[in-house]
């Protein structure tokens, strides 16, 4: 007969308010096999855990059910406590009476009845639990960092400085990300490139970092500590070992009219190019879609002028494979466009802003390039249409953000601050100019952020108008801005020379593909999901995969850098040990009944099922059976259901256990 102990947690009032914990414990005591049942204010506290340990010893328990919060929260806590009392940790289970019960039902009768059922289910399961031992797996002490923006750079440097090898993957020709496009940074007005480029150079020269630019993730296999990643190194058409970065090819290239991605269309670039002069690595790539040679089969001007002979028109994409133990995802963000709705997008454009077709209406990233000393105007304020210095500039915040009508309900967080900065930079460059900011709220939480806003208003004379802009249109070389000033209750019309829209921060358009390749979760906007919003903001639900930067949610630079360092610390923590423990809830084959049909082998997503020969003592083959490689099995249980002879069990989730759970709910 089983000797089960049930421990019902009040979690203060979190459970106790809508679940009668005493009654739950009382009902639990009546379940056959339950020899101990009690309730306590905080089961996870030291005294609470002590109660469990004491009961295990005093009552000789062989199973424990803790009715408390989600097992995702405290299962480890209680399993550790149980182990300290000498019981196998896998003989403890949790009933989720908080997240799934007390927090979602207000009626105490409903809540209590449900809690009793949930406890009953787990008691019946625990009766059939087997002692299990965690599986130990080796760790490959090399990390992959995906994305070479400031977050990826920081994570890579921190891991590498912790004396571990790092592969830094970037799909563009250069690392640097969005930060390299920015002019100055708030609230200090540090020059963005000046503070970023030293880090970029450090990455390139670090002996522990393998930098793969112009490369994309193809495939991820394996599991924590033992991932195999396939990377496509796109053909640069330039030999990286030979190129000296002199730039003659770019000067000589006859194609000159390709809108520069780095300057967000404000300048043109040739077909062979580096995105910007400080690119790392400073080796150009040939844009095959626009190169005359690739289109028409002749030209090769770059090859003729290349002194060291680095041009390789026959270069092909290369697939490289690496073993890594941990992955940091730092793929960044993209910017919303006011243009017409792109295919497949749930987000509408702004017809009232002319779908981005009005000259001199630019987005925030374009303004950064205009203001940047390294930009197309060398930092002089010149509007795109005629190159004139704009004397009146309107800035519009929350374009796309906080706008359920357009499909985005969230706040993009960084726009309030960069718009202040934009207005300030504009006023510093055009002293007699007027800057107007249309805003919904000024969200300036952050160190010295509010002071920065005050400075713009009080010292630089930036005018804030609280209201939305309903329409933009072109008239006599000006952009007419029609909006509301809700504080004075009036309509506002400004004839602006230039308009800057603070567009919403979006996830990368292909973030879902990346998530599916790596096997991590994402929200409805495509931002990657952290393991816990408060206490595990760096981890994902997939062990060994960590997040850094704006791929998780809109973030400014210090937040992205802090999270990147956090992710790096998590990676180094993993790499501090030689072996990791993995959950032992894996599949096992009953060799007596297995008929070697190998359905399991076909269905297994991890190729964990092998064919095993069973031989007699003379070495003659008796039969073939399936065998599960415990290093590879992830415990999904697909094979269990597929097996026609019911010869596979998933430890921790056996058919018997699940039937017992279902029967526990029967009348």
């Amino acid at each position: 007969m089983a000797r089960i102990g049930v421990f019902v947690c009040h979690c203060g009032k979190n459970i106790g308010a809508t679940v009668d914990c005493e009654r739950v414990a009382g009902e639990a005591a009546k379940i056959p096999g339950v020899v101990h049942s009690e309730n306590y204010l905080y089961m996870c506290s030291d005294p609470g855990q002590l109660k469990i340990k004491d009961a295990i010893r005093d009552k000789k328990l062989d199973g424990v059910v803790v009715a408390a919060c989600s097992p995702h929260m405290h299962e480890r806590t209680f399993r550790r406590a149980v182990a300290e009392a000498g019981l196998n940790p896998y003989l403890a289970e949790m009933s989720n009476v908080r997240e799934h019960c007390s927090w979602v039902h207000q009626d105490i009768e409903d809540g209590t009845a449900k809690a009793i059922d949930l406890v009953r289910v787990m008691v019946e399961k625990v009766k059939l639990n087997q002692p299990l031992t965690p599986i130990r797996v080796p760790v490959t002490k090399r990390a992959l960092v995906i994305g070479g923006g400031v977050a990826g750079i920081q994570a890579a440097l921190d891991i590498a400085n912790g004396e571990r090898d790092v592969i830094l993957l970037e799909r563009d020709p250069s690392i640097g990300g969005h930060m390299s496009q920015l002019s100055e940074t708030f609230p200090t007005l540090d020059c963005s490139q000046c503070i970023l480029t030293p880090k970029m150079v450090e990455v390139a020269s670090h002996p522990r970092i393998t930098l793969l630019t112009y490369s994309e993730l193809e495939e991820v296999d394996g599991y924590v500590g033992n991932f195999q990643v396939k990377i496509r190194k796109k053909a640069r058409s330039v030999d990286m070992d030979v190129c000296t970065g002199c730039g003659v090819c770019m000067e000589k290239c006859p194609v000159k009219k390709i809108p520069s991605e780095f300057n967000v269309g404000l300048s043109m670039r040739p077909a062979i190019y580096t995105p910007f002069p400080q690119a790392v690595p400073n080796v150009p790539v040939i844009d095959k879609e626009n190169c005359i040679y690739y289109i028409k089969g002749k030209c090769k001007v770059c090859e003729k002028f290349c002194g060291p002979g680095a041009i390789r028109f026959d270069q092909e994409d290369e697939i490289v494979t690496y073993d890594v133990g941990a992955i940091v995802v730092a793929t960044g963000y993209s910017l919303y466009s006011v243009g017409e709705k792109p295919p497949g997008s749930t987000i509408a454009g702004y017809g009232e802003y002319g779908y981005g077709n009005i000259p001199d209406v630019i987005d925030a990233l374009q303004f950064e390039r205009l203001a940047s000393a390294s930009g197309p105007t060398e930092g002089h304020m010149r509007r795109p249409s005629d190159g004139a210095e704009p004397k009146t500039v309107a800035f519009i915040q929350c374009v796309g953000s906080r706008c359920p009508e357009k499909g985005i309900t969230y706040c993009s967080k960084i726009c309030c601050m960069y718009t202040v900065k934009h207005a300030m930079l504009y006023k510093h460059k055009v002293h007699d100019g007027d800057a107007y900011i249309f805003y919904m709220d000024i969200r300036s939480g952050g160190k010295n952020y509010e002071e920065f806003v005050r400075r713009a208003i009080e010292e630089d004379g930036v005018v804030y108008l609280r209201g939305r802009v309903s329409r933009l249109y072109r008239k006599d070389g000006k952009v007419i801005v029609r909006g509301a000033d809700t504080l004075s209750g009036t309509q506002v019309e400004i004839a602006a020379d230039m308009v800057v829209t603070a567009n919403a921060t979006l996830a990368q358009p292909d973030s879902q593909d990346v998530a599916q390749k790596i096997g991590i979760a994402y929200d409805k906007y495509g931002f990657f999901s952290e393991k816990h919003p408060k206490l595990a903001p760096v981890e994902t639900n997939t062990a060994g995969v960590f997040l850094a930067g704006a791929c998780q949610a809109p973030k400014d630079i210090p937040e992205a850098v802090a999270q990147a360092s956090g992710a790096a610390a998590k990676v180094l923590e993993m790499f501090a040990v030689d072996e990791l423990e993995r959950e032992p809830t894996i599949a096992v084959v009953n060799e007596d009944t297995c008929v070697a049909c190998f359905f399991c082998k076909r269905i297994c997503p991890y190729s964990a099922v092998e064919e095993k020969e069973i031989k007699d003592r003379d070495g003659n083959l008796i039969k073939l059976v399936s065998h599960v490689n415990e290093g590879l099995c992830q415990g999904c249980g697909l094979c269990v259901v597929a097996c026609p002879s019911k010869s596979i069990e998933l430890l921790g989730f056996t058919d018997e256990q699940l039937f017992a759970e279902i029967n526990a709910l029967a009348e």
Binding site: H72, H100, Q516, A521, N541, C636
Partner: protein, 175 residues
């Protein structure tokens, strides 16, 4: 309006249009995967979203672990409805488990329909770890639909009879 009032009116609403006897509440068993829907239900809790209390969750690592026999057993045990919920297609923690589940259940639903089970009693959904609000909608929707159907007496009577009269002669007689 006080909380008690709103609750009683909610209970009245529940009774309205209900097919079952007075005081009857549908009993629903949900088989959910650990990584998406279980976590989504956790999020609903953390966000203190309220939903109807009729569902009892049974957690599995993956929807691919769910044997259709589990569902039959749940009906035998008196469930009026069953919900199966996992990761969205393409998002499976085990890369392909939910695809196997989807195929398996497409077939199983056909079988249930053929047998004469109203398909509102057997529902499927995809709820991700970020979709706490969707979980609430799914639960309320499933509960309302099963409530509208009333108790699953046909199956319950059959399974009771089966338990009481297990010999072959009786089966032949009934046939």
């Amino acid at each position: 309006m006080t909380t008690a009032d709103s609750q009683s009116s909610e209970q009245e609403q529940r009774r309205e249009g209900a097919v079952g006897p007075e005081g009857w509440e549908p009993k629903i068993v949900a088989f959910v995967c650990n990584w998406c829907t279980y976590a989504g239900a956790d999020l609903a809790g953390t966000s203190r979203l309220q939903y109807q209390p009729n569902v009892r969750i049974i957690k599995l690592p993956c929807t691919g672990r769910i044997d259709p026999v589990f569902i039959v057993r749940a009906y035998e045990g008196g469930a009026d409805g069953v919900l199966v919920s996992g990761c969205h297609p393409g998002d499976c923690h085990y890369s392909s488990g939910n695809y196997h589940a989807r195929r398996r259940f497409a077939l199983f639903r056909k079988l249930m329909e053929f047998v004469g089970v109203d398909l509102d009693r057997l529902q499927f959904s995809w709820v991700s770890a970020a979709e706490g609000a969707k979980w609430v909608d799914v639960i309320n929707d499933v509960t309302n639909r099963v409530r509208a159907l009333g108790p699953f007496t046909e199956y319950q009577a059959l399974s009771r009879w089966w338990k009481e009269v297990p010999d072959e002669q009786a089966i032949e007689q009934r046939a």
